[in-house]
Structure formats: C-alpha cells, structure tokens
Symmetry: D2
Subunit: 338 residues, 4 copies
C-alpha cells in the first residue's frame, strides 16, 4: 500500500500518521519528492482500511499495490483451476456449454429443450426456477416445482443441472437438487448468500454484477472460497454502459483479465448480455476465441411464447448450427466440447 502525503504537511502530523501505521503492523519506507512524500507500506495490508487512512487531512491519495484476494489469486496458485462436476470436467482443455430455457415453464418444455440441447452437444442443462424480475408484476418463476421439473429432465437426459439461487432459505433444496448453483448478477454482492454457498459442497457459478469491476467480481469468489468451497466459476454476462442498442455491453476482455489475475474458470453468457438472439452466435464464437472455458446459452423451443426473455433465446436448430461452428473453433484452441 502506498500513502501519498503533501510535502507541506506539518511534520508533527506526518509523525502521528507514521506511528499510527506502525501500530497497525506496517513497516514504512519513506520517499520524499518536491511536492509529495510517498510512504510505501510493507506487510499484509489486505485488512487495512484504505478509507480510514485517506480520512487523514494530510493524505492526498492511498494506492493499493497488493490485490485484496488470496485464494482466488493466480499469484499464489499459478495453475488454472480444473475440477469435475458429475464426472464432467470444467476448465483446462474442456470447453463446457450450458444450455436451456431462461425459465422452467412446464415439464414438456424443459424435457423437450433438454433433449434437443443434449443432441446438439451441450454438457449441462440450465433452467430458471426462481427468477429475479425487475417488475413485481412479471412472472417470478415456478420455484421449487421448477427444480422438480429440472430433475425430471436430468433423469431423462443425464445432463447435470445449473439453476439460480436467490436467497438462503432454499439453499438446502439447491444443494440437494442442483449440480451447479448459479449466483445471478443482482446477487453478486449478496454476501450473506455467498458465505453460505462457501460452506456447501457444490460448485458455484457467479455471474458478474452489472456494475462490478473485475476486482469486485473476484472478491465475490473469494467470499465463497474463504469458507472452504474451491469450485467456483466466474461468468461474464455484460456490464451496464451508456450504449442502449444492446441490453448490456458484453466485456470479453474480462476473460483474459480474469485469467491474468485469477486461476478460476471463466464462462460467458452471450444471451443475457446482448438481449438479442441474432447476436448470440457471433458473441459465443468470440468468447471461445478470447479464451473462455464455457458458455451459458438460452435455448427455447418457442421463444415467442416464452414467459421471460424470449428475445434472447435461440431456437433448437440455430443452437445446433452454433454448436457445429463452435467445435471447429474449439479445435483450433486445442479444446474439447462436452
């Protein structure tokens, strides 16, 4: 950590600050320039509060050098994280495709979509049972009944299930029924939920919040990992920017960025980010090319009748074509789909 102090600060104030920092266990290295004094703090500064130092009137800036995360940090874990979910590999040479409807709507719908995405080569089935909706008047998902239908589809197809959890009160059901527990963008900083997920023995996929920096996103993984759960996937799904043509702006540079800073696998959701089905194919290919470890794609047999997010869903035939192209791309990258 680096603390920048104005060169004209009273010597007594500088001394007081220095003692205060030493008291917190820091070793300090001084460097006096013309306009500023730069203090380099040596020691584990992860739990030191930047703000309380910055509140000192003589301090101009506080800069962090050390990343605030440990378990998710590639510095301390140089190899990529690779793990298994129900016998399917995530990360490394595996490229995983999670596909299925935005919401679970009926047995017929979920089983029909599950069969078709399996036939096209998807590795996991997605389906929303609890749906976070901006409006209280919109369809809120089938709830636990939705999980039951997903289990039927899993039984039928063998595809492991990915579904979103919104609150801790249904955690037991998710741990019991679901294969990868998804934390939605709006819950990325639901820290109570993250801590509980850290205590369970299920892989967790954390979507990036709409306004989350890459560092904050990794910190949410750190919340889960700190409690002992190492099987965490990060999923980019678009950030909120000024551009309104797309629903959100898919930040594919987040893939190499996360991979530089962390060892965790990174997935991409091209459906939610763009909000338009005809953008899913180019963005899915681009995600693979940029180094993603997997994709999460919405597929619906009848998007016009979908109870939510129809505009971004692919029809099964389009998904099938997409998978064919993805396989070619995967080959160039030395990865295997499925």
């Amino acid at each position: 950590m680096i603390v920048v102090v104005r060169a004209d600060a009273p010597q007594s104030e500088v001394e007081k600050l220095k003692e205060n920092l030493i008291k917190r266990g820091m070793e300090i290295n001084f460097s006096k320039g013309v306009d500023h004094i730069v203090m380099g703090l040596i020691g584990d500064t992860r739990s030191v509060d930047l703000d309380s130092i910055a509140s000192n009137e003589i301090v101009e800036k506080v800069l962090r050098v050390q990343e605030p995360y440990k378990k998710a940090n590639r510095l301390f874990h140089p190899e990529d994280s690779v793990f298994e979910v129900d016998g399917r590999k995530i990360g490394g040479s595996a490229f995983s495709v999670i596909a299925g409807p935005c919401s679970v709507e009926s047995e017929e719908q979920v089983i029909s979509v599950a069969k078709s995405v399996k036939a096209s080569g998807a590795s996991f089935l997605r389906g929303g049972a609890f749906k976070p909706r901006t409006s209280p008047y919109s369809f809120q998902g089938m709830g636990l009944d939705g999980l039951e239908l997903l289990k039927l589809a899993r039984k039928e197809t063998g595809l492991p299930i990915v579904s979103e959890i919104m609150s801790t009160d249904v955690l037991d059901a998710f741990v019991e029924d679901v294969d990868i527990i998804q934390v939605g963008a709006r819950s990325m900083q639901n820290f109570v939920l993250l801590k509980e997920l850290g205590k369970c023995n299920k892989p967790v996929m954390i979507k990036r919040g709409l306004a989350a920096t890459i560092e904050e996103w990794i910190m949410s993984a750190e919340y889960v990992m700190k409690e002992g759960n190492d099987r965490v996937i990060l999923c980019e799904r678009g950030i909120r920017t000024f551009e309104t043509f797309t629903r959100n702006t898919l930040d594919l540079s987040a893939i190499p960025a996360v991979k530089k800073k962390s060892h965790l696998p990174v997935f991409v959701d091209p459906s939610h980010s763009t909000g338009m089905w005809w953008m899913v194919e180019p963005m899915a290919k681009a995600a693979l090319a940029a180094g993603a470890d997997g994709l999460m794609i919405e597929v619906h047999n009848s998007p016009e009748d979908a109870l939510c997010d129809g505009a971004q869903s692919l029809k099964p035939e389009k998904f099938d074509q997409l998978m064919k192209v993805l396989k070619k791309y995967a080959q160039i990258e030395g990865k295997v789909i499925g």
Copy 2:
C-alpha cells in the same frame, strides 16, 4: 406499448403477431408508414413481456409507453407522500437529517456521536450493524449486538434509528428494534428481501443501486408497496460511472426526476456517494437546493480510527457547521429541519 414491424414483413406473419397480441387482451391501432408498420397496443400492458414480443423476427423494436409501476406512480397519486415515523414527519415541508457513524463500533462511540448529532439538529440516528463489505477480510459489522447499542443510543437521545438490513433471517429483529429499515445499494434488487419488507409495518428506505436506472429504482419501491407497505423512501447515493475521482457520481438530477414520476420522498447520501468528507457539505447543500426531502450523513468522532469508511465521515464540529447552513437553505425552500 408500441410494436414496430418492418414494412416488408410477410402479411401472414403480421397477421399472426396481431392475433397473438389480441389473444393477450390488447386492442391494436395500426399505422403504416413507408418503411415501418407501427402498432399501438391499448390496454394494461404492465404484465406483457416486451422480450417475448421482440423475439418475433419481423419485429424491429418494442417501446413501452406506460410506466411499469402503479402504486409508486405519481400519475395515480398526484400528491406527495408524507408520513410519520415515531412522530417525526417525512416529506412535504419536512427536511430530515439522518446522521451517525458508518458502523456501530462501541457503546461509547455510538452514544457520543448520537448526542452530538442530536445537539446539532439531526432527526434520526444512523448506524450500521450489518455491513456489506467488498472484501471478506474487512470488518463485517457487530451484527445484532450493534442493534442493541443503537437502542441504547435511542434511549439516551430519543432519536429514532435507521439501520441497514442485508438478509431476511434478521428481519424480526429489525422490525422489533429499528425505526426505518434501510435497504443498501447492493440489495436494491434483492427481491426476496423487498417482498418481505413489503409485509412488515416499518418504513423502508431503499438506496439506489450503483447501476440502477431511475425506473428500476422505483420498481424496487413498487415491490415493497405491492405487498401493502406504503412508507417507502428512496435514497440517492451515487451511481457508477467512468469518473474515478469521486467514489461514485452523485446524480442530483435524480431528485426532480423521481419527483416527476413518483410521489415518494427522496433522500440523498452525500457521504457514500463522494467518499470524501470535504465534498459532503457542498453536495448536502446542493441536494437540499435540488428538492431533496432529507439527507443521510456520516458523522464519526474519530474518522481516522473508524473501522470502515472513515474518509467520508464528518467530525461533529463540521457537521454542526453544515447544519447551520442547511437551515438557511431550508428557509428559502420553505422547509423545516428536524
């Protein structure tokens, strides 16, 4: 709702779409231009899903005319909402100042700050017991013990308490102990929490999410109001933009914007938004001038030792000076502080 279709769409597809919309209870008004057909949908379109209409390949755009909220909508409730909390008026001619430390740290601290902000004219005491922190290694708040200390401070000073709730599992304690339950920016779209707060008989203050549009923010109020709880305050606390000089960008135009669309009272938090104590005074005055109904300000007796967010806390003397200026401004606006 308005649906824009390309003029070269096959007639049969247009007919199918038309029937589909009529089936959903809409009346349709056609307007055919050179390049586009514009369909005006008449009826209650609040529960109609834009996306499922947009997924139709002949549809170019879907535009909503009607606001998606009812209870919070000024159109159906033209008068400002004014209500009481423990005998203190919120909204209308009242200008309320909520002040206190970011986190509750000790009995001495909270009581000392409470007494001093009361003496300066604050109407409510704030204090965080459960703290949402980006890092799992940062201080997470005193929890229920913190609420106990706030109650002691209330007993001592008579100031009603405002504190942030992070999850439903402590809702009973909050309903029992706290006078205004605060929903933090990160929880603004924790819909499970909002629904539960809608069922309790306590005023709720909803902070604006970092990436929340004004419409989404009002929709979060609608979640609470739909369940029967009408005492909702909206609190602007800065949005995330590209500017990094301030922690967030305080959007004061949100005050007249919300007041145009909704009848709910609007507060402003100049401490969290800017992240710097020396910006609190100018932004607090500006908020009052722009029409806010109240402020939430961090005050700490010793910001350098604060366990969180010291940089943005005012010392009691500075808070006292600020209150003196605010009173002059309030007078011009015909409002009464406290």
Copy 3:
C-alpha cells in the same frame, strides 16, 4: 416518430400540437389509451427535431422509429459495402490487417516495422504522424515529416498507408500522401472535419468515440457519405465504462450491431482499447470470430522505448504468431487475409 401525450391534456393544446405537426408535413395517426394518447407520425421525420416537440408541456415522450441515417443504412443498401484501396479489397470475403507503430519516430523504426509486418502478412501499414495526446507536455508526433517517413516505408514495402488526421489544415497533404485517412476517437464528432473528408476521394476510417453510441457513430459516417464519399470504414476501439482494469472496454457486440444497421465494413483496434499487449491476441481473435472485416494492431520493434503507447504494442515476433492463428480462424469464416 411517435409522440406520447398525457390523456388529461387540454383538448385545445392537443389540437394545437396536431396542427403544428401537420404544418411540418407529417401525417398523423391517433391512438387513444386510458392514460396516454399516442400519435404516430408518418412521413420523412429525419429532419424533424425531437426536442422542439418534446418541449411542449403536454408531451410526455417522443420516440423515433426511423433511423436518422440514409446512406449508411442497410435498409436502403442491403448488400455489404465492398471496395478497393490501392488494389486491396476491403469488406466481403477480405479480412484486412493494418499494423505498425503507434507513432512514427524515425526512418529506421518505421521501415523496420513495415518490413516485418509485411512479412507476417499485414495488408496495410499504420503510423501516427499527428498524435492527439491528453497532455500538452507529451510527444505530439512528427507531423508532416512523419508522413514523409511513411511514404518511404510504403515505397520500400508496397504497403498502403493509414494515418490519423486531426484538423483540416493538413487535409491536402493527407489526400496526397495517405491511402486511408483515419479519424480518431476524439475527432469522431469533429463535424467540420467530417464534411471536408466527405468531399475528398480517399477512403476514411472512423474510430468510435469513447462515449459514442452505435447510432451516433453511424451518423458520423453519414456526414462523410452525405458529401459524396462512400468509402467509409467504421473502427471499434473501446468505449469508456466504469471498468478501469482495461484502458477502455472493447465492445465486440458493436460488430454484429453495426452490420445489422449498416452495410459499412467494421474493423477493430484491440491495441488501443485494452491498452495492454497481452490482451491483443485474444481480442484480435475474438474480433474476427465476431464478424469483423479487419483489425488495426500496434507493432513496435522496441515497445519500452516507444515515444507513446508502448504498453499496448506487440513485438514483431508476437505479431507474427498472431497472424498465424488468425489465418486459421479466417479459414473457418471463409475469409482471406491480406
């Protein structure tokens, strides 16, 4: 264009607005709902000012249906634009790579880089002679002398030259010496410059402004095309968002977005957008996969000594490796590099 009026507006005001619109040559289609009156305006509304209609107190919203651009609009020009620059094809099945140093620094540097990028398969040589720099104390480019060095490099290698113009006073030199005139992100809305470029007979490449929407970007192309110059390339180079890890956020979804709305070729600059050389490869591949028609990449023989933007420059060997992978990707997409 759609004008939404409150249903409780005085009839006389509605009539006045209606007459005003008819006077401007519009035909109006009325649709009266419970809360709103929706007026659909039929006719060429491109020159109608939204704002002057919105200023009417009874108007709630004005929504544009028609795109404000004609010449750049795919609706009126369904086929992709494909054109030639010095015998090299741009667009269609061609995938063009523009490579070279950020700034021209010396004869030795520019010729050495030009030879090496040519050997690796680049089709065009880039090099900045006039450099827009945030600081007046930074190196501002070699100016016209820089153009002379680029011409030497062209003579030596046969590679056509791409260079950025900052003002109209050097337009004659650019028309004379440069093969594709580049408009930088900061000049995207320098309308005086755009109009002049529209009058010259040289291809123009317009970089997207940091805060430009896709529509505004296409409108800048329209400025050039309106004056008669049809050879316009759009180049995505990252937009400004809250994320600070990358210099800007590369918006690859802009590629399919522009291609949906316009027939113009779209290039991508992965160097400036990310600001880090190790992100260039993944983002270049992703751009090709997402449908781009070309890339603009910074290559420097000695990035540590570069007078500007060294951090984002590839060394020649890394560029060579990148070109090898790009050829494989191009093959899948049925495109030819060079």
Copy 4:
C-alpha cells in the same frame, strides 16, 4: 510516479529497468515487499510516458502521484483565479449567469431574448452560430451571419457575447466578435483548436467532454494555458452514463473536485445536461449551492418553434423567476449575481 514490479522478476531485468529510469533523469527509491518491489520515482515525471514503462514485462502497475498539469494546478497557484471580461468579474465573489437561445435564429429572436434575460439580471448573452449536430440533416447554425446578429444584440443590450467555436478557420472572426469563446463538449480534446485558443487574447470556456474525467478536462485547460492564455473557465454540462431518463448526468461533485485540484472558475450548464426545461431550476440552484461560479442557461421566447434543443429551453418568465431565487441563494453564499 510509482512503479510496481513483481518480486519474482529476474534481478537483471530489474537492473535494466532501473538504469533506464535513471537515464530519463529520475531518482529512484526502492521498497521491497513480499510479493512486490515498489519503486518511487522522484523528479519531474510529467513528460515521462506511463505506457512505455508499463510495457516492460516485469512491471505490474505504474501509478502517477504528481498531477500532470502545472499552470491549472492549485498546488502552484493556491488562490482562486479571478479575472475580468469587458468589465465584468468572473470568479471569486461574482456569480455570473450566461443566458440566451441555443441557436441564433433571427434578429428579432436574439434581440428579444437578449433584452429579456438582461432585464432578469443575466450578465452575458449566449447564442450558437455554429452548431455541432449529431445529424448532417439537422440545422447547422447560421454561421458568421449568426455572429453578426449576436453583435447587434450586444449593441442593443450591452451584454457581452458567449458563442461556440468549432474549428480554427473561423478563429479570427471569433477573436474579433465574441467576448468569451466557448469550446463545446465534442471539441474538448480538439487539441489543434485548444493550442490556437491559447495564443489569442480572449477568455475561453471549455465544456467538459461527455466521457472526460476531471483530470482530462483540466488537461484541456492546460493546453490553452501552456500557450499563454490564462483566462480559462471550465463548464460542467453532464457526462454520459447508463441513465437514459436525463440526456446526460449532471456531475455537480465536479465543482468541488475541480476547485480542489485547480484554481480555475467552474460554471455549470443545467440546460444541456438534463435536456428538460423543468429540471433547469432545481439543477441551477444546486449548482450554486455546490460552489459554482456561474451558470449557462438556455432561454428561448418560443421553445416549441426553436430550430434546436427546444426541450431544454426556459421561457423568459420562468428564467425571471429562477433569477429571483438564485439571488437568495447567492446571498447565503456571499456572492453577487451580475
């Protein structure tokens, strides 16, 4: 400047970097932590290129301590800049109101508006002669004829004129005819224009670019000041964010931020930023309360017929009411309007 190097970097590479920096005239202070080596660079680093240092593979981060501006820096000029324009004071205890139409449209219009804003207490007349418009099909302003009409209005009322320049080719006319030359948001980084303005003897008002950080904005002032022109005003006019309710997001925290870093006067344009006339009053008051030195407000006698930006223009009566309230606010702040 601070350079952060990974602790595991080869010693030879660290030495090479060190020598390179010393060669550039820097003195270096070393501080070795567990994971990182921190180098503090002492000396004038304003012309050192961050990027070329960051391009070194062993470098993790480069952080600037010193502000990159000198002439505009409050550190070297602690007192507020106060200067005169045609006998009217700008800055200090003066609060200046610039008012008038968005575009000059006719003699009658500009003289009528000029008289009315003068009667209400405005100090300067604004009027656009050259208009930067997103669309080439929109009204582009009256050009030099517009300047002539402004001069007539000045003769009639005595109000000095503020008008926007878009390119250097009309600079002579502006220097001759206009009292404050305005640089629009889109031209904030038109460095060729800024340099020329630095050489002329007229005050310059620089609007903040839509995506400009506070530092970049001050750097644009530095461009003008470096050439010898010290009379620079900065004008906040809203930044581009994700919020679409307002046209832009007015960043009033920019006022105290600029005042902390620079001695230059800061104005605010509440008309362009919000895009809606009914937001002008609250935002104008808030700007004064936040410490602004002046306002720029659009007033039009007939907004519905305005050739541009009608929606954001106040009618003369509303402007007159606003001035009355502003006078009360100014009194509290110890400022004098006009």
